[in-house]
């Protein structure tokens, strides 16, 4: 939300919309965007091409040529594989709860840091946010030991819990920034009317922060869905594997299946695309209303 007061305005009369000379800019911009879009789509088209070719064709260097015949064998192979269905279900079982849980925890922490600051709360906030800044490989072994000790290895629980925990920093950061824009007067008015903090959070702050939740939901869903490090570490049997591991395991020690891999990766990326398309109008609004606002 732009603060117009910051800019000195002059008391000039609004001119009539005069007959402007032909403006070439929209056309130029449009053409530039089309070119850029083609450039951006090219790698994705490459994935698409690999998915409609046989491994033999790709091995013979035919990846980038336009296919003479559409080979859909890769897609039928992937879609008819019951293991793939299981991978997709498992991935959803991890991604949905972890996305929701990390946002819920981020909302709780973000609200306190924004509206109920205390001595040292800034430092605490800093510590939490610092959790975004290390590569996850650092904590592989301690976490494996922890979940092994409590007997949760080879279940989806550790993946859900770890993704929830690793999502706390970004969720807290964005929610704190969002809640900071909720007028303090609104909160005080509610308190005076006898509401407690919980009611302020759920009845006042959350309803208007729906867009921010959509932003986080999209981000978290995409990240967790595409992760393969944690499922690799915490699952052991094929029944508990996620789609990204399925994708990795397409490749044998001494064999490759490019075509099938391409088809599976396209299918695997559909849910994240759907989530984006579904949330995107909230997404834009969310960024407008608060997350973007410092």
């Amino acid at each position: 939300m732009a603060d117009t007061r910051a800019i000195p305005t002059r008391d000039t009369a609004m001119p009539e919309a005069a007959d402007k000379p032909f403006d070439p800019w929209p056309a130029v911009i449009f053409i530039a965007l089309v070119c850029l879009a083609v450039l951006f789509l090219t790698p994705t088209v490459g994935v698409l091409l690999s998915s409609v070719k046989t491994t033999r064709e790709i091995a013979l260097g035919e990846l980038w040529s336009i296919p003479s015949a559409l080979y859909l064998g890769n897609f039928t192979e992937v879609l008819n594989n019951p293991a793939v269905h299981r991978y997709l279900v498992n991935t959803l079982l991890v991604t949905a709860p972890a996305t929701i849980a990390s946002i819920v925890l981020g909302v709780l922490a973000g609200y306190v840091f924004a509206k109920l600051p205390f001595r040292g709360s800034n430092l605490l906030f800093l510590v939490i946010v610092s959790g975004m800044f290390f590569p996850p490989q650092v904590i592989l072994i301690p976490l494996f030991r922890l979940f092994n000790a409590v007997g949760l290895i080879d279940t989806l629980w550790p993946i859900i819990l770890v993704h929830t925990a690793l999502g706390i920093p970004i969720c807290t950061l964005l929610m704190r920034n969002f809640f900071a824009t909720v007028p303090t007067a609104l909160r005080e008015a509610a308190i005076i009317e006898g509401a407690n903090e919980w009611q302020v959070l759920t009845k006042v702050a959350l309803p208007i922060s729906l867009p921010a939740l959509a932003v986080l939901a999209t981000l978290q869903f995409t990240w967790i869905w595409n992760d393969f490090l944690w499922p690799l570490i915490f699952t052991q049997s094929d029944e508990k594997r996620t789609i990204m591991l399925g994708l990795v395991n397409m490749k044998g020690q001494y064999s490759v299946a490019w075509g099938v891999q391409g088809a599976l990766s396209l299918i695997a990326s559909l849910p994240t695309l759907i989530v984006f398309l579904f949330f995107q109008r909230y997404f834009i609004k969310g960024m407008t209303m608060g997350a973007v606002k410092g």
């Binding site: 949905a96 819920v104 690799l232 052991q236 990795v248 044998g252 001494y254």
Partner: protein
């Protein structure tokens, strides 16, 4: 969109996985757990059938955990660190297995070995080198590979090549002929570094011999010795004459194999798994491709062959070590299983009872070559301890990038290797 009620969300988050997943059901009575790196459609499918046979025969259930090759290294290490190793896991025979043994993570299997009479079953050529560590048996070979010079038959025919090279001079002449015909003689895809190691292995083995190489692998010799320099000089001769494809470091081993399959290059020094890959994309063994052993360079030196052995080992604190030993015995001594697995992997079986008729003509030839050799040694990254292997593999890639810096590269490698041996 309705406002999501937090309590519903939490309830869903907690209840959904609980209902759908149940508790962890890893490692139960009458069950053998195994983790392995045999992924890919063929590997996974083949093993599933093999395990089913085992379950039918013994009444023990096999619970398997496949992880792709590269990730397996991370996965198994994390499990070892977490004291959660499976009963059985696949591992590469040689220095890596030695490393796990040194960390007290494996149990010896001598009793099982003797009871099952594996001395009679496992081929001598691989038995001692791959299974014996400090006088005790720790590993059964599940399958092994041999590295040879695989070539495109029609490219050789078009170049008028009738005799395969037996000596280094004949090899150089062959390469010159091919180059004269406009074909790049040698494909190499060293993007992942390891494919280059076979060149180092064979050049060193054929000039300095297996004994010197063993010293180099164990740290008793140095990378700036004249022996190593001589081997690298031969390699440099090949690169100076442009016998290798340009940009070897840009390609993976499959890219290099593709180049030979397409006829862009004539041959590639690779393990027998290449036959599995080529058969998979429709090439015919013996018709489209074949191999010849790495030529002799200096006479009077023991004839060594190079390759990796995929083994199965039993972890030190296996929950079901009796079942684990049963599984190991079954996997190596059942000739049908071995034949089937060799076919799937494009591998050789270490079981002498496997009828050679199960192999393609090319693989029969490979088997004969191994049998006729004086000694079977592991390829570089399995022959020397892991930290040193990292130094050497980088050295090969560096060399392929700029062979003219060979002296500097060797001097650096000598220093780095010394340090790595001290770790």
């Amino acid at each position: 969109m309705p406002i999501l009620n937090r309590r519903t969300l939490l309830a869903t988050a907690i209840a959904a996985p609980a209902l759908m997943l149940g508790a962890g059901s890893w490692a139960q009575e009458g069950e053998v757990t195994i983790s392995h790196y045999f992924t890919g459609d063929l590997g996974l499918g083949g093993l599933k059938e093999i395990f089913a046979t085992f379950e039918a025969e013994t009444g023990l259930k096999v619970k398997d955990s496949p992880i792709g090759h590269e990730d397996f290294k991370t996965g198994i290490l994390v499990r070892a660190a977490g004291n959660n190793l499976p009963d059985v896991f696949s591992y590469w025979a040689g220095a890596r297995t030695q490393f796990v043994i040194d960390s007290n993570s494996l149990q010896p299997i001598d009793d099982m070995w003797n009871a099952a009479g594996l001395d009679e079953i496992v081929a001598k050529s691989v038995a001692d080198g791959a299974t014996l560590y400090g006088g005790k048996r720790y590993l059964v070979p599940f399958g092994y590979h041999y590295a040879g010079m695989f070539y495109n038959k029609s490219v050789f025919a078009d170049a008028g090549i009738t005799d395969l090279p037996k000596t280094w001079d004949e090899f150089l002449a062959l390469a010159e002929t091919l180059k004269g015909k406009g074909v790049t003689p040698i494909a190499l895809g060293s993007k992942d570094r390891w494919p280059a190691q076979f060149w180092f292995d064979y050049l060193l083995l054929r000039t300095a011999g297996p004994d010197y190489r063993a010293k180099l692998m164990s740290g008793a010799a140095s990378y700036d010795d004249p022996e190593v320099k001589a081997a690298m000089a031969l390699w440099k001769e090949l690169t100076d004459k442009d016998y290798f494809v340009p940009n070897a470091n840009a390609d993976g081993w499959t890219d290099a194999s593709d180049k030979v399959a397409r006829g862009d290059a004539a041959m590639t020094l690779m393990g027998t798994w290449i036959t599995g890959y080529w058969n998979g994309i429709g090439l015919k063994p013996g018709e489209d491709y074949d191999f010849f052993p790495f030529p002799e360079i200096e006479s009077g030196i023991a004839n060594a062959v190079v390759g990796p052995v995929d083994g199965l080992v039993v972890s030190a604190n296996a929950a079901n070590s009796e079942g684990a030993e049963k599984l190991l015995t079954f996997m190596v001594s059942n000739a049908d299983v071995q034949a089937k697995w060799a076919g799937i992997q494009g591998a050789l079986s270490a079981n002498v009872n496997v009828d050679p008729a199960n192999y393609t003509s090319v693989m029969q030839n490979a088997l004969a070559t191994v049998a006729a050799a004086d000694t079977f040694v592991f390829n570089y990254d399995l022959a020397t301890p892991p930290p040193v292997a990292e130094v050497g593999l980088s050295m090969f890639a560096r060399f392929m990038d700029d062979p003219s810096k060979v002296d500097e590269i060797l001097a650096n490698a000598a220093a780095d290797a010394k340090e790595a041996f001290n770790e």
